[in-house]
């Protein structure tokens, strides 16, 4: 039985330490800051686990965008929120600690008892990957073998957006999202927002393009694009679109519609819904990925931008 590499032990300790900080620190804002750092370390763990695809997603989405979301929310909470100061009594905490330790312990035991050799679909993926025309096995799984999950997930994103918008006050319908509005941005931020996006867009497209054969893909690319858009919005260079904007809505559902369309065509041309005709798999997968990247980027940006607020709300700049 070999020992794990010291770097792995260090990463594991760091992850647990940061997680402990997120749970135990008293101020919500600092907990959110801790969470961003935690996500970045976790991305390194994913690299160590041999999954650069997941590492990219974790860094961009799990740490970056989620962190931005939580930080902005923490900054908006009322200062006298009773939830900030009340804590359950020691009895509850002890019972909770015992319960959670038991759950973690049982899970740890199960992890140690998993069968050896481990079952794996890697050989099956390797044997069938050539039929999809893509070289990155994760892309093959996401867009061919388990395409229905990816389709479902893109619709989950759309639904989350509808749900988010539905939280708007009635008189705000037709207004612009308000989470990212703030006091006029400092000039360094405006400068960044002018300089960075062209590079960001190139990086996003690059991630999408290489994603067919190497780690990367639409989600990672979309996250970078969304981040660029959010930067522009936060810096106040552009206003987020109104929720009633037809082009914006069309763009948000475009990827899922293309996916459904190509999937439906597959029912006739390739014998099954979500199947690709022979020889056309790769171009079709790339088309879906491109369309989805655009839509996912728009949706991620809109999710960060929050529900619409009335036009006369404080903080609007012309």
């Amino acid at each position: 039985m070999s020992l794990p590499a010291p770097v792995d032990l260090g990463l594991a300790a760091l992850v647990l330490g940061l997680a402990g900080w997120v749970i135990t620190t008293s101020a919500t804002y600092r907990a959110a800051e801790g969470f961003v750092a935690y996500g970045l370390v976790l991305a390194l763990v994913w690299v160590r686990l041999g999954s650069v695809d997941v590492a990219l997603t974790e860094a961009a989405l799990g740490s970056g965008l989620t962190g931005l979301l939580l930080l902005r929310a923490a900054a908006r909470l009322p200062a006298d929120d009773p939830a900030e100061t009340t804590r359950p009594g020691p009895g509850v905490r002890v019972v909770a600690a015992v319960l959670c330790t038991a759950v973690a312990g049982a899970l740890a035991a199960v992890v140690l008892l998993l069968p050896e050799p481990a079952p794996s679909l890697a050989p099956a993926v390797a044997a069938n990957l050539s039929a999809t025309g893509v070289g990155n096995p994760v892309t093959g799984v996401l867009l061919a073998f388990r395409a229905v999950d990816t389709l479902g997930e893109s619709i989950v994103l759309v639904l989350a957006l509808v749900g988010l918008w539905s939280l708007a006050p009635d008189d705000a319908w037709g207004g612009r999202p308000g989470f990212l509005r703030g006091p006029a941005a400092a000039s360094p931020l405006r400068f960044l927002a002018q300089v960075l996006p062209p590079f960001g867009i190139l990086v996003g497209i690059h991630l999408l393009w290489i994603g067919a054969d190497h780690p990367g893909g639409k989600f990672q690319g979309a996250t970078v694009l969304a981040a660029m858009w959010v930067l522009v919005l936060v810096a106040g260079l552009r206003q987020p679109p109104r929720v009633t904007s037809r082009p914006m809505r069309g763009l948000a559902v475009f990827g899922s519609l293309v996916f459904v369309g190509i999937g439906t065509a597959g029912a006739w041309l390739a014998g099954a819904f979500l199947a690709y005709p022979e020889g056309l798999a790769k171009p079709l997968i790339l088309s879906i990925e491109t369309a989805l990247m655009l839509s996912v980027a728009v949706i991620l940006g809109l999710l960060l931008a929050g529900p619409p607020e009335p036009d006369d709300a404080a903080g609007v700049r012309s």
Partner: protein, 114 residues
Amino acid sequence: MSDATLFGLCGAALVGLGLYGLICHPGALRKLLAFNLVGSGVFLLFGAVARRGAASGFGGDPVPQALVITGLVVAFAATALAVALVVRLAQAAGRTDLDPEPPARSEATPERPS
């Protein structure tokens, strides 16, 4: 112990830590942070499973890796929706705890649809 086992155990511990936070923090945003810890613990455990399944020249079983990517995206969407709810609740009630009794302050209520 392999790196997969180490990070699998790490995932198990994260699930426990996150659950503790979910139970013990009254504030919704803190619960949400804790939920994200549980989520990342679960995904890490899934990652350990993927790593154990390394074969055919792949560094890990690509199927669970793909599932984790899907899961991360869904978790982000969930967080976005929940954060918006928390902020709205804070605007409407001035508090973000989830005590069953109705919140103290209430804003002017919009017309209810029938």
